[in-house]
């Protein structure tokens, strides 16, 4: 199994009222020789993409030329995260995500090809595989001889991944598992020869009962996996997405990945670690969109002056730049945490994914808007950018599911603590230690304000707002837990508000750390644009947080749900005509 996460999660701790700033300050940066490597890789990458990656041609053809895929293989881009001893290049998470960002800035489908292979397709093998399994498959995965796919989703199990039906039955005579079932929307499905597959099996538990559990398997195409036709898609059309069919596929016992019955956990941990790569690709997409539109609004004239003279255009440009700045800060703070090791980053990577994908969608949408009618034409890149961006909000956990995950996982620790507290209050003598511990913590919470390390004087205001709203989040989360108890699980709108608040908080602290660290390196005047960015974002963010927190108590949720319930029961828009 993967190594145990020893350091507490920064964002989960926020819910509990703690700020673990040592994970945040200074903003993580790579060793000089790692950066030198990265520069050289990016150089090769850009030269290669310049010559061979034609995103709009790929989109029109709905396929990527085979020799371009081979080019990626020959250059080594399928083995970025695989350790050197297995024939890969052992890059840090930071370098890997930076590379995906650069690819995402040229072609979303290509970012997906490489990302699905390395962020999720082979990640399970890296994290949970045995030495034998790694030696058997990683060298061929590193060269791209085998392309990997991650296979969880099924026709009946999308967001509810626990509901998968693909079944593995142990055949005692043949000494193999027999897999039957099908998978849907598998990225790289038509190209891959190596599949990380999740299937149900009946497992005899220690207590003698049999339970239906999910187990992860390493499956290769030659075991009998069949791909369906390439899906016709809205965007990322040159990437391969197919269904997969398992009909009596025989999988040897040694291809069980990790512990039997722990497949769901493995599936989630792979996704947790993979999401930040997707976020990186999206930031690349936003950067490209900004670059294109900046050239456009400079040239395009209306009312006798270039578009970039108009306030409503400038507002959009600034928002896009800020979106990029914040997402980038969150992502590379998170990859820094991951590279440092031994830290629970599941919330951070989910937040990066939500933020970067929502941002990308807003950014390409606004760019299309700025281009006006031209934006709507297939002659220009804006509509493809929009189509390519859309999937990101859906896959690797819809942003709705991820917001729920952020809120519930964030509150879980505190919830358990409160549950224990509840018991302690019923039995004060036994629970005495707990109660004093709680009282101390409670006092500390309300007396201490200055809990971040000193930051540059320019950022003191931003830091103050972070601390103020971090505390507010903690108090609110606790209040919500006490008010709703277990029922909080169904209060999705409240969860969304809490998630948005904590995403904004993480955005604030990421920017504060980044800019503070840069001021120390380069001085104030060199960083004045970044200071402006950080302060502006923090101002806007805390106002959003305030609104979200206020709306937890004062809202129209019940009315909104009643409206929904009415139309759901009527099965149509059933109101009196306006004309009668």
């Amino acid at each position: 199994m993967a190594e145990k996460k020893t350091l507490p999660s920064f964002s989960k701790s926020l819910f509990s009222g703690f700020i673990y700033d040592d994970q945040i300050f200074p903003f993580p940066c790579q060793k000089p020789d790692e950066n030198e490597n990265l520069e050289m890789i990016l150089d090769t990458l850009n030269k290669f993409m310049d010559r061979y990656v034609d995103s709009s041609q790929f989109d029109r053809d709905e396929r990527m030329p085979g020799d371009v895929i081979n080019g990626w293989k020959e250059l080594g881009f399928f083995g970025l995260v695989i350790p050197e001893k297995y024939g890969g290049y052992g890059l840090s998470n930071t370098s890997y995500v930076r590379i995906l960002e650069e690819v995402g800035a040229v072609d979303g489908s290509t970012a997906l090809l490489l990302g699905a292979h390395q962020s999720i397709g082979l990640k399970g093998l890296l994290m949970f595989g045995t030495e034998e399994q790694k030696q058997k498959y990683l060298p061929r995965l590193a060269t791209g001889e085998l392309i990997a796919a991650y296979c969880l989703t099924e026709p009946g199990a999308g967001s509810d991944a626990g509901g998968i039906k693909t079944r593995a039955i142990w055949d005692e005579k043949k000494k193999v598992y027999i897999l039957n079932g099908s998978k849907m929307w598998i990225t790289n499905g038509g190209l891959a020869d190596f599949f990380t597959v999740f299937a149900r099996e009946e497992i005899k538990m220690e207590n003698g009962r049999t339970e239906d559990k999910i187990t992860a398997f390493l499956v290769t195409r030659d075991m009998g996996v069949k791909s369906g036709n390439e899906e016709k898609k809205l965007g990322i059309r040159s990437s391969s997405t197919t269904a997969l069919f398992f009909e009596n596929v025989e999988v040897p016992f040694e291809n069980v990945l990790g512990e039997r019955g722990k497949g769901f956990k493995i599936a989630m941990e792979i996704l947790n670690s993979g999401r930040v790569g997707l976020a990186g690709g999206c930031v690349g997409g936003s950067k490209r969109a900004l670059r294109q539109i900046l050239a456009f609004v400079k040239e395009r004239e209306q009312f006798g002056k270039p578009l970039n003279n108009f306030e409503l255009i400038k507002e959009k440009l600034a928002q896009i730049a800020m979106n990029i700045f914040v997402a980038e800060s969150m992502i590379y703070l998170t990859t820094g945490m991951i590279d440092q090791g031994d830290v629970d980053f599941s919330l951070e990577s989910a937040m990066c994914k939500v933020k970067a994908t929502d941002n990308l969608w807003d950014d390409v949408n606004e760019c299309l808007q700025m281009a006006g009618g031209i934006g709507f034409s297939q002659e220009y890149p804006y509509e493809q950018n929009l189509r390519d961006a859309r999937i990101n909000i859906i896959f690797e956990g819809t942003n709705e599911i991820l917001r729920i995950f952020v809120a519930l996982a964030g509150m879980q620790e505190r919830g358990e603590y409160l549950k224990k507290m509840g018991k302690a209050l019923k039995d004060p003598i036994k629970g005495f230690g707990l109660i004093t511990d709680y009282a101390m913590h409670y006092m500390k919470d309300r007396l201490t304000t200055d809990r971040l390390p000193d930051v540059d004087s320019e950022l003191v205001g931003s830091k103050y707002e972070f601390e103020r709203w971090a505390k507010n989040l903690h108090i609110t989360a606790e209040r919500v837990l006490i008010k709703y108890g277990k029922q909080i699980i169904d209060k999705e709108i409240i969860q969304k508000r809490l998630a948005d608040a904590v995403i904004d908080l993480f955005g604030m602290i990421s920017c504060i750390s980044r800019v503070d660290t840069n001021i120390k390196k380069f001085g104030h005047s060199e960083c004045r644009h970044e200071i402006l960015m950080c302060k502006t974002f923090c101002e806007l963010a805390w106002r959003r947080i305030r609104r979200n927190i206020l709306m937890i108590d004062k809202n129209e949720d019940e009315a909104i749900l009643a409206i929904a319930d009415y139309i759901i029961s009527e099965e149509k828009y059933n109101y009196h005509s306006v004309l009668r």
């Binding site: 490597n37 520069e39 050289m40 890789i41 150089d43 090769t44 080594g76 050197e84 290049y89």
Partner: protein, 250 residues
């Protein structure tokens, strides 16, 4: 075969060049430095020569500390060794550079020395010939095709309206022109291998510059385009202007 490639670090072609306050140098601060594109053909040809004949490729570059990134780039394409001739800056007089390179090249006893036909920053295009003179070995410049057979070198040189086919023996200096080959991309494998190669640092005594930079200027602004008129009736005037003003037709 003992093969050398001399490479130069130059500003990226997309760099917006800014002239320094002294009006005699270029602001280096925001410049992205790259391997001179013509030298990429030289590195590629050197590696191909090694692959065909065996031997070693030594990358040689002259300049300040920042030059090491360019050396690594060349190594990542497939070089085996590297020599960095350390100087405070790259002298503007090509003869000074040639003198320094010649010292190192003589000591290396190379069979064949490759370099780009010119650097894209100062465009002097003199190095191959200066080295030939100083080292007293033949140089073939502006090469677009090269075959090596039993230490005999046959090269096509690009000349106005055609090519020359010339032959010589080794040692020889070859300056490379676009069309000779398609430079490979540095693979991750090459990049990682390059990191493990120690770049040998050398210092040499430089001769005096005999060329002095007096002034740097931006090229004159392009005059805006002119719309002569619309429709067929504008054609005679357009033809007249193209003939008499622009002088592009006769």
């Amino acid at each position: 075969m003992n093969i050398a490639v001399c490479v130069k670090q130059v500003p990226d072609t997309e760099t917006k060049v800014r002239i320094g306050e002294d009006r005699r140098s270029v602001e280096e601060r925001d410049i992205n430095f790259i391997l001179n594109p013509y030298d990429e053909f030289a590195v590629e040809e050197a590696i191909k020569t090694k692959e065909a004949n065996g031997g070693e490729v030594t990358i040689i570059a002259l300049g300040p500390d920042r030059v090491t990134s360019t050396i690594r780039n060349a190594l990542a394409m497939g070089g085996d060794k590297a020599i960095h001739i350390k100087t405070d800056q790259i002298p503007i007089d090509p003869l000074v550079v040639a003198g320094a390179l010649a010292q190192i090249l003589r000591a290396g006893n190379y069979d064949i020395i490759f370099l780009g036909k010119q650097a894209i920053d100062d465009d002097n295009a003199q190095m191959a010939l200066l080295l030939s003179e100083l080292m007293e070995i033949p140089a073939i410049s502006v090469v677009t095709e090269l075959t090596i057979n039993n230490r005999q070198v046959v090269a096509h040189r690009q000349i106005e309206g055609g090519f020359e086919k010339v032959e010589t023996g080794m040692p020889v200096i070859i300056s490379t022109q676009r069309g000779l080959n398609k430079p490979r991309f540095a693979s991750l494998k090459g990049i990682m291998a390059a990191k493990k190669i120690t770049i040998e640092e050398r210092s040499v005594s430089l001769t005096e510059n005999r060329i002095e930079m007096l002034e740097l200027n931006y090229p004159p602004q392009k005059p805006p385009g002119k719309i002569v008129g619309e429709g067929p009736e504008a054609v005679p005037e357009l033809v007249r202007l193209l003939r008499e003003e622009a002088k592009v037709i006769s």
